[in-house]
């Protein structure tokens, strides 16, 4: 039984190692290259003053408040958009390639016809997707903490850890949405469209809804906001933020597995 589970999780995990390596490199390059410019920004008061003179709503929308501070710099340069976006994109592509993409290509049939339940099969693939997101979270965290040390960014490790973990959980939430869609239908384009739309709309809601008094209260519906709306680089994060992202991520994967159990498997 242990061998079966090792294969159900390890098989799709190993199959994604190239993509995992690629995303890891992208995260390292992005984080290190951004943090490497901190010493230049720290000394350039003109730039930070110019940014501070932008209208407050714009500063909020693009996460540029306090750009001259370490937390503001990391938020504006990485954690307002880029890093969460990388996690969301990786989540969509990992989830899609492990499920709907493989099924659409006809490569699941041989595996699903073996003596394993469909729920176990889908659960194994979901765990592999979440495992890769966990790996990326560790890679991002290690890169960030090491870069902070190397380039002298004076920021506590606690808020940084909270922020990176929340980015990873945002990715897990988006992966959960994709897994639900993939469980329902073997249409990779649909899985990708829904995944990217959820991520993009979620960011737009968080960034732009506050600009309108009518829409501002609705910004709470955005998972992006659940992750980063409380400015975790400055304030750390409440426990509910982790639960609100991680819980539904698992729940959505379970819904996907149950849906996968009930439908036809697509052939080549």
């Amino acid at each position: 039984m242990r061998g079966r589970w090792a294969e159900l999780i390890g098989g799709p995990f190993r199959a994604s190692w190239r993509a995992g390596l690629g995303w890891s490199i992208a995260l390292v390059v992005l984080i290190v290259s951004t943090v490497a410019f901190w010493p230049a920004f720290r000394g350039a008061s003109g730039i930070t003053q110019a940014i501070d003179q932008m209208p407050a709503p714009l500063l909020d929308a693009f996460g540029l408040q306090g750009f001259g501070t370490p937390a503001g710099y990391l938020r504006g340069g990485l954690y307002e958009l880029l890093i969460p976006l990388v996690f969301a994109a990786a989540a969509v592509l990992f989830a899609n390639s492990a499920t709907a993409g493989e099924e659409d290509a006809g490569r699941l049939e041989l595996f699903v016809s073996q003596p394993v339940s469909r729920v176990a099969f889908f659960a194994g693939r979901s765990v592999a997707v979440f495992a890769w997101l966990a790996v990326l979270t560790l890679v991002a965290l290690a890169s960030q903490l090491a870069s902070d040390q190397i380039f002298g960014v004076p920021i506590d490790a606690g808020p940084v850890i909270a922020t990176v973990v929340l980015c990873g959980l945002l990715g897990a939430f988006v992966a959960g949405v994709c897994l639900t869609v993939a469980g329902l239908v073997a249409r990779p384009q649909l899985v990708q469209s829904v995944g990217f739309s959820v991520a993009y709309l979620s960011y737009l809601i968080l960034a732009l809804f506050p600009l309108s008094s009518l829409l501002a209260p609705w910004r709470q519906i955005a998972p992006w906001g659940w992750a980063l709306g409380g400015d975790p680089l400055v304030n750390g994060a409440e426990i509910w933020r982790y639960l609100l992202l991680g819980g539904p991520a698992v729940l959505l994967a379970v819904v996907g597995a149950l849906a996968f159990e009930r439908r036809d498997i697509r052939s080549a």
Partner: protein, 308 residues
């Protein structure tokens, strides 16, 4: 349900496959229209039909990859839907449309499937690889379609399964390997295993199968032994007369269809008893009489023409 505990429910008597009123619709498309079929234990059963006849759909319903619109399917006494997990531990399946994970090696894929099946007989794997002349160390994307087919064949025959379901197993195999495949089928049959063989290569089925079912447009046309099927097919008759052919007497015989006369030569297809024809021929000066035994292909085409 755990596959091992469920195996207790496996029965050793009754048909290996029992299909009752199987219907599978895809929206307005009727892929399978009410199939009833029993496959006996220990037999090699040929499932014949052209592309789109419903062979693969039926097979995928048997393996619970597709959910039937209506009907009941039992495999080795187990319900294909409720007991699918226990059932699949006793069934080895080779898909017709073969899409394998390209970055894996043959050995990696065999090991992965072995882990999912709860074990693998490595000696048997090596022996099969040798017989199929297969290099398992190569990546699957580097293999020709024939060699990929060999990997799938190895996966089907290496499994310790009571029932082998093989969908178009020899597509892309060279004649030498087709012969090896037939030898493997014979050996599996000798071991008491049941082989459900879907194909449109009639010669292969003719050589391997004990019984066949012919499918057309999602419905069964006929089920029977290969010899019986041949007997049911029309035989080709060719008669050479010393003088002009007695066309009027021959035209009066309803058993003779597609009649054609050319001077002293008469040809037709015999659909029924040969006695009335012989009664006419004894009155004539016959130079030669040729009655050709139809092979399965002719029987097959015949049945198709009759069905359409």
């Amino acid at each position: 349900m755990d596959a091992q505990t469920s195996q207790a429910a496996l029965t050793t008597d009754g048909p290996a496959i029992h299909i009752e009123g199987l219907v599978k619709d895809y929206g307005a498309v009727h892929a399978v229209r009410g199939i009833n079929l029993d496959v006996r234990r220990g037999e090699v059963f040929g499932f014949l039909g052209p592309n789109g006849a419903g062979k693969t759909t039926t097979i995928r319903c048997l393996l619970d990859l597709l959910r039937p619109t209506a009907g009941r399917l039992e495999v080795l006494g187990l319900d294909a839907r409720q007991d699918s997990l226990a059932l699949r531990s006793q069934v080895a399946y080779m898909p017709g449309e073969l899409r394998l994970p390209e970055r894996m090696t043959g050995a990696g894929l065999v090991a992965a499937i072995g882990r999912l099946r709860g074990g693998l007989d490595t000696r048997r794997r090596d022996s099969l690889a040798e017989r199929l002349d297969l290099d398992l160390s190569r990546r699957l994307r580097e293999l020709s379609s024939g060699n990929r087919r060999k990997v799938a064949l190895l996966l089907a025959f290496v499994a310790d399964a009571e029932l082998l379901v093989l969908d178009e197993p020899t597509n892309g195999l060279d004649p030498l390997m087709q012969r090896e495949f037939l030898a493997l089928v014979r050996e599996a049959k000798e071991q008491g295993r049941t082989i459900f063989l879907s194909s449109h290569v009639l010669s292969e089925v003719q050589r391997a199968a004990d019984r066949v079912a012919v499918l057309r447009g999602g419905a069964l046309i006929v089920v029977g032994g290969v010899d019986e099927l041949r007997r049911r097919a029309r035989q080709r008759i060719e008669v050479w007369f010393d003088g002009p052919a007695p066309t009027e007497e021959l035209a009066a015989l309803p058993e003779l269809v597609n009649q054609h006369t050319e001077d002293h030569r008469f040809t037709a297809l015999l659909a029924g008893s040969i006695e009335p024809l012989l009664a006419v021929l004894v009155q004539q000066h016959v130079v030669s009489l040729l009655v050709e035994e139809p092979d399965l292909e002719e029987a097959f085409l015949d049945l198709y023409e009759a069905a359409s």
